[in-house]
Amino acid sequence: MTPAKTSAKTQEPAAPYIYTANHAPEDSRDSVVFVHGAAMEHSVWSHQSRYFAYHGYNALAPDLPGHGRSGGRPFEDIGELADWLCGLLAGARGRGFHLVGHSMGALAALETAARFKHDRAPLCSLTLVGFSYPMAVSDALFDAARERPTEAYAMMTQWSHASQLGGEPVPGFWSPGMQFSMMSGSHDGALLADLRACHAYAGGEDAFARVSCPVLFLCGRRDRMAPAKLAAAHAAKNDNAEIVFLEKCGHSIMSESPHGVLRELKRHIGNNAAAKN
């Protein structure tokens, strides 16, 4: 899709960049929308999104405003981000939607699911990867993001990997290096805005109460950024929710366990496809 340009006057993001694995979305397919986390972009989903595009789904992995190839400024508020995602869904093709979010993107996906108004196509499933609520950000990380962003990228990369030694099943790539490089390439100020949005988000309880589609919590057992026990507490309260732990994984779960994440997404999304509803 088209790369975005920012309109300098309004600071309103123009058309965002959306990765679709070279497939024009079709009305007859379910659409899986992948929402990236803080200071990330669409390719953090590359081990999952491409698969869906080649297996009967529309895959849509946007670069959120102020991230990756999308212009505009990053939202500092999960509600605003959710409204923006609702707008994206309203304009997107598909007979049903599946929201998949990671970290900040998981908060945004949750809030989007709560605000989503079903007119054309239903919201069929929600998957929260590396999710915690609340998502409190430490002063140390805020300070670093403000004053020394490269240090903040390094801290987050270190905390995000269960093992500092690599050995992930993606031949030829070093996952900490990939994450650090992705964050280092993020737009100025994006991380700080994203962390503010995460920290300030207080709508989790309300949002869960309003979500009616099945929810999958996908947690790295050794996630230090978004401790699995926080997700587990919400999963336990929600009849419509299921929680799956991936062992030996931290917060960078899509690259630490690409097969595990894909397997669980296929199952959850497949079980809840619009055709089955």
Partner: protein, 433 residues
């Protein structure tokens, strides 16, 4: 400098990229000596080949032993990933072939390995890729050599044969001003002595045949990518930004913003040119890398002692080692290479070709051969071997003369190394007389 891992260099050199084998518990990296991998089913096969999920399909594309090595070099260099190739030459070729095609142009340092010079000067022009060679010391010459069709700037940190040091930060800045990536051949320095990415380079190549393997047992090459160069913004790299018919219209920089170069190098370059590394070779290089910092420290320590020894000899006309104050790049080397300027250097014996030949042939601890970066000390006298058929003028143009000797200092007891050199010097004096 903030780093993506808390783990330190020596630990990464031993562990990065490998966990004990989950099936057998094997602690060492197993050699997966297999050409191919059984698919779960056809759908699994199709998704592997189409890059829908990571995994191994065929060892020309990837192999689990090689993958450990690729991840390890990426971790040690601070990059996003790596690619193992059949040789250092194959690594250079793969990098170039991934970035450009006919009509493109390269600006290269003129103080590079002879084999690199060969491919750039003689072979690639036949495929429509031209190179302008400039002194790595002359930033204005580098700038002046850049043309609209330039796609790459290339050089070595410590050049051959004069030990010229490339001002990597400065050249990187220049390259980036022109929307170009900087490729550094880091063979002589290894990530222990110099980390090109920290200084702004975009891609690194190694002849892993040398210090990384460290024991003179295999031929192999490596590429590592920093993952920061913005191929799309540069607008010069259609191979990475435009749809590629050879892979279902994939735009590599869209598929992975950070790893576009490595994806295309693997998915096209390894697939089509096929210069992959053997997994047994990868094992040997991994084995060597486990002790990289121990060895490099000793290589440098012994080299410093040898340089000091040669400085005192009346048979020696000059020494090109950047740790000497007399070297034009002394202060740059102090800044960029605080751990040492490597273990390969040239010096010139008085007495010309005969003295040089007698010296090289008379050594016993040093092996007379065409290689560097072995645990064993090595010597070559270019004027009577690799450069034998060259005229004096051509030799001078290559930065050497009849009495030039190249040493690669090994890990032997320094007293034995020095005794051997004394013997050689004695013989060189006799040949002169």
């Amino acid at each position: 400098m903030p780093r993506p891992t808390k783990t330190r260099f020596d630990t990464l050199a031993l562990h990065a990229g490998q966990r004990p084998d989950p099936l057998t518990g094997a602690r060492a990296t197993p050699i997966y000596q297999t050409a191919s991998y059984v698919f779960d089913d056809s759908e699994h096969a199709a998704s592997l080949f189409n890059m829908e999920r990571p995994g191994h399909a065929y060892s020309r594309l990837s192999n689990p032993t090689n993958a450990v090595l690729e991840e390890r070099i990426a971790a040690l260099e601070g990059g996003v990933g790596g690619i193992a190739t059949a040789s250092g030459q194959a690594a250079l070729h793969l990098a170039i072939a991934t970035l450009m095609g006919a009509g493109a142009h390269i600006v290269s340092s003129n103080a590079i390995y002879g084999g690199s010079h060969n491919i750039l000067q003689y072979t690639l022009p036949r495929f429509g890729i031209d190179t302008t060679f400039v002194s790595p010391r002359d930033i204005d010459a580098i700038r002046a050599a850049i043309r609209p069709e330039t796609r790459l700037i290339f050089g070595e940190v410590v050049g051959n044969p004069g030990g010229d040091i490339m001002n990597v930060p400065l050249v990187a800045e220049l390259a980036h001003e022109h929307g170009l990536p900087l490729l550094i051949d880091s063979t002589f320095t290894t990530p222990y002595l110099f980390q090109p990415f920290v200084h702004g380079a975009d891609i690194i190549m190694h002849s892993a045949t040398k210090f990384l393997c460290g024991h003179g047992t295999v031929i192999g090459g490596l590429l590592a990518d920093h993952g920061r160069f913005d191929w799309k913004a540069s607008g010069r790299f259609d191979t990475l930004s435009a749809p590629y018919d050879g892979f279902h219209g994939m735009r590599f920089d869209e598929e992975s913003t950070q790893a576009a170069f490595l994806l295309r190098a693997r998915r096209e370059g390894l697939r089509d040119f096929g210069a992959c590394m053997s997994p047994t070779t990868a094992f040997h290089i991994l084995q060597g890398m486990e002790t990289l910092s121990l060895r490099m420290r000793r290589h440098v320590e012994n080299t410093r002692a040898v340089v000091e020894f040669l400085q005192k000899s009346d048979a020696v006309e000059g020494i090109s080692y950047a740790e000497l104050e007399s070297h034009p790049d002394f202060s740059l080397a102090q800044k960029l290479l605080p751990r040492g300027a490597g273990a390969v250097f040239c010096f010139t014996l008085r007495g010309g070709r005969e003295a040089g030949r007698a010296f090289a042939e008379g050594l016993e601890v040093f092996s007379h051969l065409a290689n560097v970066g072995d645990a064993k000390s090595l010597v070559i006298h270019p004027a009577s071997t690799t450069h034998y058929r060259m005229s004096d003028d051509d030799l001078r143009a290559a930065g050497i003369n009849q009495g030039t000797i190249r040493l690669s200092i090994g890990l032997e007891d320094i007293d034995d190394i020095l005794e051997d050199l004394s013997r050689g010097i004695h013989l060189s004096k006799k040949a002169r007389a």
